[in-house]
């Protein structure tokens, strides 16, 4: 039943909003993962980020894809918790934890089960269209799963269409630039820096074609 609801939500409602309400300009869509396990990392501007990414993957992958999301926010009340676990099917991440706990355990488990994870290494949505430094967790994950491809995706426009703290959706075209998959090789710090650098390159690729932007 929830599988059907999930299908209706993503393949119909979200797809319709994404196609008509937003409109996408995608570059290198073919680089998105076609099988699990994989990690998609993206910059985070809006609740729409996850929706757009999930609607971009091949329909057959819908059962495999799970966004990694903050437990305190997405489980804060019963309705949201139901939606988060049954429709979005989030992998909950505890933001406050005790020293001996491993908050990444559910994420490791999901990767071992062959899932495609959507992860926002900036941590939160923050200021619209302003990229923040990546948190270290992503490097830790990549190190533990060196065989899993990490695919960086830069998105722009969703923070204008539906920014943090706003409930009013305003149509805007949204750009999605997919980068080459990156596997863990050297040290965690280097890895994190290279991933971040790759994201900045995707951002400058976007900026090169858009002189308009924000006043």
């Amino acid at each position: 039943m929830t599988k059907l609801l999930r299908f209706i939500f993503f393949r119909m409602i979200v797809r319709f909003i994404v196609l008509v309400g937003l409109g996408l300009n995608i570059r290198r869509r073919e680089l998105l993962p076609k099988q699990g396990p994989a990690i998609i990392v993206a910059n985070h501007n809006s609740h729409l980020d996850t929706m757009v990414l999930m609607s971009l993957l091949e329909p057959a992958l819908l059962d495999r894809v799970q966004p990694v999301a903050a437990m305190d926010y997405f489980m804060k009340n019963r309705l949201l918790a139901w939606f988060s676990s049954n429709i979005l099917r989030i992998v909950p991440l505890a933001r406050q934890f005790k020293a001996h706990d491993n908050p990444l355990k559910p994420v490791h488990d999901a990767l071992e089960a062959g899932k495609i994870l959507i992860l926002f290494p900036e941590g939160s949505r923050g200021e619209p269209e302003q990229m923040k430094a990546f948190k270290k967790g992503i490097a830790r994950l990549a190190q533990a799963h060196p065989e899993v491809p990490v695919i960086p995706v830069y998105m722009h426009g969703l923070g204008t269409a539906l920014p943090k703290g706003e409930a009013l959706f305003v149509p805007f075209f949204c750009d999605v630039f997919v980068g080459q998959a990156r596997y863990y090789d050297n040290t965690r710090n280097d890895y994190l820096q290279q991933l971040q650098e790759q994201m900045y390159q995707l951002e400058s690729e976007y900026k090169a074609g858009h002189a308009g932007g924000v006043y």
């Binding site: 619209p128 706003e166 075209f173 002189a211 006043y215």
Partner: protein, 313 residues
Amino acid sequence: MDFLHIAQPLVWSLAGLFGLLFIASGIVRVMTRTQPHKDYSELSQRVSSWWIMISVFSAALLLSKNLSLLMFGLISFLALKEYFSMIPTRRTDRRVLFWAYLAIPMQYYWVSTGWYGLFIIFIPVYMFLLLPTRMLLIGDTRKFLSSLSTIHWGLMTLVFSISHVAFLMALPDTINPSAGSAGLVLYLVFLTQFNDVAQYSWGKLFGKRKIMPSVSPNKTWAGFVGGVITTSGLAVALAGLLTPMSLLQSAMAGLIISVAGFLGDVTISALKRDIGVKDCGNLLPGHGGMLDRIDSLTFSAPLFFHFIYYLYY
């Protein structure tokens, strides 16, 4: 069902249009086959997009008036979305932009009820006053004028102007006994798009002296003059079939459509040059975005509409 009452001239014209498409597809096929070393992929994409656009347009035109209005409303929406995504906007303008979008269903609703009085003043007067009011309530004065004028310019060009095609459709069929109001819409839209192609082709064949080098380096005098003459000729030839116009009137209509079409085209070119983009989107492969396709219509639609409205309504 009004499907059975479709005016014959309309059917013949649309059949002719599809005939032209077949010829264009044939030419592209021959060109790619005889000159395999050249890249005709953009041309081929362009023709494929034409197939889709003309099919949707014909279907809407034949099926019902309200469906046609819905189509033009959707065209306005897609073009306005491209425009708002392209121009610089302020974060504080989100709510203003929301009202600007809301003007689309309202404007097309006035059209559907045939309320000319409101149709003609809604965007130039009411939206013109509403947008700054909404902005004042938000209270951001930085870049106030730039923001206000760009938003309203978009509404005028992509909603108000384009809705004139829709109002042409909403006029009673009695003003054009032979082909109905749909005939007038087809006449305007076909000639505007034909003029684009004609100007491009004449320019490619004989173009030397540039007409507006600083705005659009590809536009030449030969293209412009050749386009005006061919479009006006075709306007005269098609007038008997699709419109109630006399010989002289249709020649004037052709002149209006071709000159206005050219001006609309270069106006959007100037805008893109100012912003620093090549195309407004990728909605129509080979053409760019919706805004790239309807650029000429933004000028030709209101002018042709008022010409017809003055003469026949």
